[in-house]
Symmetry: D2
Subunit: 310 residues, 4 copies
Amino acid sequence: MRQIRTDLAMESFRAHNADSLPGVQVNTWEEGDVSVTEVLIADPEGEKLLGKRMGSYITITFPQGRARDALLRASASAVLGEELARLLPPCEDPREPILVIGLGNRQVTPDSLGPLTVDRTLVTRHMFRELPQAVDERMRSVCAVAPGVLGMTGLETVELVLGAVETVRPRAVIAVDALSARECSHLGATIQLSDAGIQPGSGVGNRRRALDRESLGVPVIALGVPMVVHAATIVRDAMDLLSGGEGDQHEEALDNLARELLNSSMGEMIVTPREVDSLVAEAASMLAAGVNRALHPELGEREIRALMDP
Amino acid sequence: MRQIRTDLAMESFRAHNADSLPGVQVNTWEEGDVSVTEVLIADPEGEKLLGKRMGSYITITFPQGRARDALLRASASAVLGEELARLLPPCEDPREPILVIGLGNRQVTPDSLGPLTVDRTLVTRHMFRELPQAVDERMRSVCAVAPGVLGMTGLETVELVLGAVETVRPRAVIAVDALSARECSHLGATIQLSDAGIQPGSGVGNRRRALDRESLGVPVIALGVPMVVHAATIVRDAMDLLSGGEGDQHEEALDNLARELLNSSMGEMIVTPREVDSLVAEAASMLAAGVNRALHPELGEREIRALMDP
Amino acid sequence: MRQIRTDLAMESFRAHNADSLPGVQVNTWEEGDVSVTEVLIADPEGEKLLGKRMGSYITITFPQGRARDALLRASASAVLGEELARLLPPCEDPREPILVIGLGNRQVTPDSLGPLTVDRTLVTRHMFRELPQAVDERMRSVCAVAPGVLGMTGLETVELVLGAVETVRPRAVIAVDALSARECSHLGATIQLSDAGIQPGSGVGNRRRALDRESLGVPVIALGVPMVVHAATIVRDAMDLLSGGEGDQHEEALDNLARELLNSSMGEMIVTPREVDSLVAEAASMLAAGVNRALHPELGEREIRALMDP
Amino acid sequence: MRQIRTDLAMESFRAHNADSLPGVQVNTWEEGDVSVTEVLIADPEGEKLLGKRMGSYITITFPQGRARDALLRASASAVLGEELARLLPPCEDPREPILVIGLGNRQVTPDSLGPLTVDRTLVTRHMFRELPQAVDERMRSVCAVAPGVLGMTGLETVELVLGAVETVRPRAVIAVDALSARECSHLGATIQLSDAGIQPGSGVGNRRRALDRESLGVPVIALGVPMVVHAATIVRDAMDLLSGGEGDQHEEALDNLARELLNSSMGEMIVTPREVDSLVAEAASMLAAGVNRALHPELGEREIRALMDP
């Protein structure tokens, strides 16, 4: 089975056109306006079939084509808050920090989701340390870093994050990144969160070594929204559509053609909606609202906004 | 003959796979590192064949895959300066202004080429009016406006530009806009200039009524760099590649498929390099350098930069 | 009486330290959390005393030092909506447009209030023209332009605006601009609206010829928030504080000193809070909310936001 | 002696109006268009007199009022390159990295000098690690991080930097930050570099614990350009000017007044040129050019730019 190029486990599963796969459990349910799909990759066979590491992948999906609907984004934030709270280790001591990492390159619009989410995340760790008596008892200690990308810093993301983890000793890490999808309709309209960490080489850019429990020594929840489809993916999909059932010989020709295109200038291209600037800004606000809600469930949205005013 | 979707007359010509077409003259030559192609659409037959209005379309092309090469951008600027000077009406009185219009939406990265070019254009008209004695005799009167887009202003571009033209009474208008291409390798790596004006509905966005000699009453030179390929285009091209010579029946199926894809969420998508932010900034600097050179050929680059320092 | 340098008529009045002045009427009232002051300059004597043209100047002021309070900004928006509706000519035909002009330079943070307000204003004129049947009956035709500044365009603001006014034939113009104040506590924490138009040479930059009923031929409502204090102003005020009652001789020395400082590099300097970037963004949102409310009083905030989603 | 509020040791020295001070050595010379002043604070007495820690403070100053002159910025870059190379430990092994830290808040224009300088710095460490055979032998290993500010991350700058230092084990750290000055004419027109590290609470914002050899364990060179004058400073200076020689009684009144102003909303205000956006961008380019030159003295400007193209 040929692997398609997507960060969404849900899409990897669907590419098989099967009701079930060995080593993979899939559940889907509705919450208000949005759908939630959990893909649980339970063993190495599932891992191999989906090309993703073992773990739980929860996808929150908007109804088709409504990425720009503010009410849907609010619904998705609320569901994200609940699901994220479920994946995080229970909060035993609010002074034990959660570290939010915004991966990606702030200067490259479709790759700026992580840094923009960090900008909108309520950080409180400094209050816990400097004014513990002033801390609202409904708060939890949170810190947040956007470490930049290798080509801009000369440092692997994991190097910088590891330094921060050793300093902060967080209870868990939430790593936010722009994802790639297979379907254009998922762009900006899908949230994926996972306890499997973030894999090397995925997403919009190329971030290399994994951020996961193994590399960082603490639980790592990966969180993202697809911002791009790789150009090669839509071309390959168009070809598949065409070649439907025309036999193996044709299949090989298609593969050669796809490989050729991948090596041309098109191989580097991404597919996005024209308004990727506002799409990424809105997605970042949606993710940050969900993160803030998961971490301080008793603080209202207005209180959080007021606390973030400088 | 099916029309492909591109703003580059050169690509429209090449899509015919013919050495010559009735009503169309094509010349190609090299200038240093870049190639120049002139497509002259001479009559209504050529107009129909290429789906572009009569006039001269000059394309300055970088060698394959070198869009990010600063030296090539400098070469292309120099050639642009010369070709633009050739298309503009001769300067009889330096006080007669040239009006540069930056089309497109500043907030939408791939559509911001026009406004960013205007930002980097040396404007001098106010000096001619207020401090005529201080004006360097090598200068020409230039003014520049980025009128915004219909959805942001509620005004058609041509309405605002017409107001400016009536106020300024320019010798000519240079209208700068982001273009669409068919080939990914042309993104950021091709300049097109034309005396045919800017057509409605072209480019990255949708700018409606034409800006041309007819609508504005003065010569209009259109200038642009392709920033996007429409997603539907690369899919359609992939299909063509596949179906090569399989007969008309197949062709019809392809058309249906393409139409279907166009109506899906993919129909709205664009293909760009991931680094579209820096690509568009660099292209704007390249265009502005060419415009400044065409309008003030005797001012050096350093002098122009010094004059633009606030 | 020495004139102080401020765009706020309220400050010009207070500088006189008098309960009343000939030709000037002043009323103050509270609306919820904010104070409203109306300074009515009724005749040429008042004009001369305050150094401002005849007309009504309404100032909405936050309680001291609370510029960054989101709830106060919401209160101020609501009051602005009402006061602006009162100053505008009554809406006889919703198809007759209101033209919003955003003055100032988008690239200069403290001067970007006007363009940022335009970005957040709901424009509808194109719907009235293209899809009249789809227009919500609670809407009014609105268009909006940010014409840029002389040094960037080579065109006087009034030239461009006049062109737009002749094209659009609006019922009234709302001209938004960054203002200067005398008191640091007013920065970001005061809205002024006036039916006297916008005066030349005021504000953060230097915009020259007036935009008013006389120059544009339609009613002009000026709207702004102070973003800067001129450095010379706070120095002069500090000196006044010191010299209190020391006689005319001293006064003259002070004036000489102040003039000297003005001619030094300090003369060009502005005083702002460090966070001027977020201050100006918040002020623009506050103004746009008030403008949207005044123009479409029956549309809710959520509806407006949904209409502005691309 | 009352301390004035400035990060420039040169200004601290001049405030004493003395030719020499105990524990302080001052040298001034010209290099082309710019002046260089070295203030060497040699012992605790000098430290106390100038309110700055022991070490060498080198100031590169433009002729009065020419902050926006591109040629002067180029001259200053060249001198910075030489002086910085002199302060850095000699390069024994080009694979031993230099770590450039950009302090400050990217979202607050006058405080964004550090992050913007990092953006323009050539980083090479990843090439040394991944493609050692492809590394130009004239290069040195460089990495660069903009760690953000406490209020945005919840982490003290020194915590994050320490993590990076432990990971990277650099030969030296160059810490870039926006400075405050006393004189408006120094804004954007002065570079200070020092081997004394960066002091807590200085600069535009409030960055707390020092970054110096003691806290980081490696040599720390501080580098910056003044972007603001504190509003209280210019008021206090104006008062001094006025009170010249009027005796101690008056002096006390002045101090009280100054203290009062500091506690008012003015105490938080900064003084900058209106065009602080372009001033800070130009200063960042100037600093990065000097840093690149100091670290890779044999690479030409064009080569560096080409290497930085993505």
